[in-house]
Symmetry: C2
Subunit: 149 residues, 2 copies
């Protein structure tokens, strides 16, 4: 249920957010790489293509896109913010060994919130941490258990 690139352009136009070259490149990057990238990753990769791109512009673009509701900001670790084009509610699992962030579907409404009746909820986040299957296998092959991860 991912939005098409054209739909996103329309959304941006509706909200009077200019479709500047760099913004579209950032958007395109997110659309191509569903890996919840960091600013660093986006900047490093795009910089190869667009040598004049600055990191500030990546930040600016992501904030503009987030305000427009096209991009979701994911905070799992306090030392890195990650960005996601998928704005439909879903959970995130971060592997503590390889760092990859996986999506998983959740029925967010099953989380009872009767205690929050008088709160206005604007955003819901669910994230898990642990070890992914690939890393579990590697860990089994070696004996890294001893060192904790």
């Amino acid at each position: 249920m991912r939005r098409s690139f054209e739909d996103m352009k329309i959304l941006l136009r509706q909200q009077n957010i200019k479709l500047s070259h760099h913004r579209l490149k950032v958007l395109e990057y997110l659309a191509k790489h569903h890996i919840h990238p960091t600013v660093e990753q986006i900047y490093d990769d795009l910089h190869k293509e667009i040598p004049t791109l600055s990191k500030t512009t990546v930040y600016n673009s992501l904030h503009a896109l987030a305000n427009a509701g096209l991009v979701r900001i994911i905070t799992i670790e306090d030392n890195e913010t990650r960005y996601d084009l998928e704005v439909e509610p879903h959970g995130h699992f971060k592997c503590e060994r390889c760092g990859i962030i996986f999506n998983f579907t959740i029925d967010i409404d099953k989380i009872s919130t009767n205690e929050l009746n008088h709160f206005e909820i604007r955003e819901k986040s669910v994230y898990f941490k642990g070890i992914c299957p690939t890393c579990l296998q590697q860990v089994k092959d070696n004996d890294y258990w001893r060192i904790g991860i």
Copy 2:
């Protein structure tokens, strides 16, 4: 279902974590102030009592206590880490206006995780953002709606 101070001391001794004066002060602070404080808050408040306390020690103590399983690290915003003595699973609601973080109970196991069957889950987090009842009222009294928050 909060742990008693004595129980926590026993846990620390079991794990061979020394009950140093400063660590106990940090622990005591968390026990008295269930406000999910930042390092800054802990440091500022304790520093009045213990003028020789350094911020590094607050970080060290919190990490030691977290490793011992007595303290939970909460990452909601990427620019501030918060700490919680309550390690039983529960959700957090952060008010985007006043910044207060509220607890709420969740039945974490209701979140279906069949997609994560082959993952080893070590930690689950649920947090919401929005506006708390107090702020909603204040906002209604004024007309801050216009400015978005």
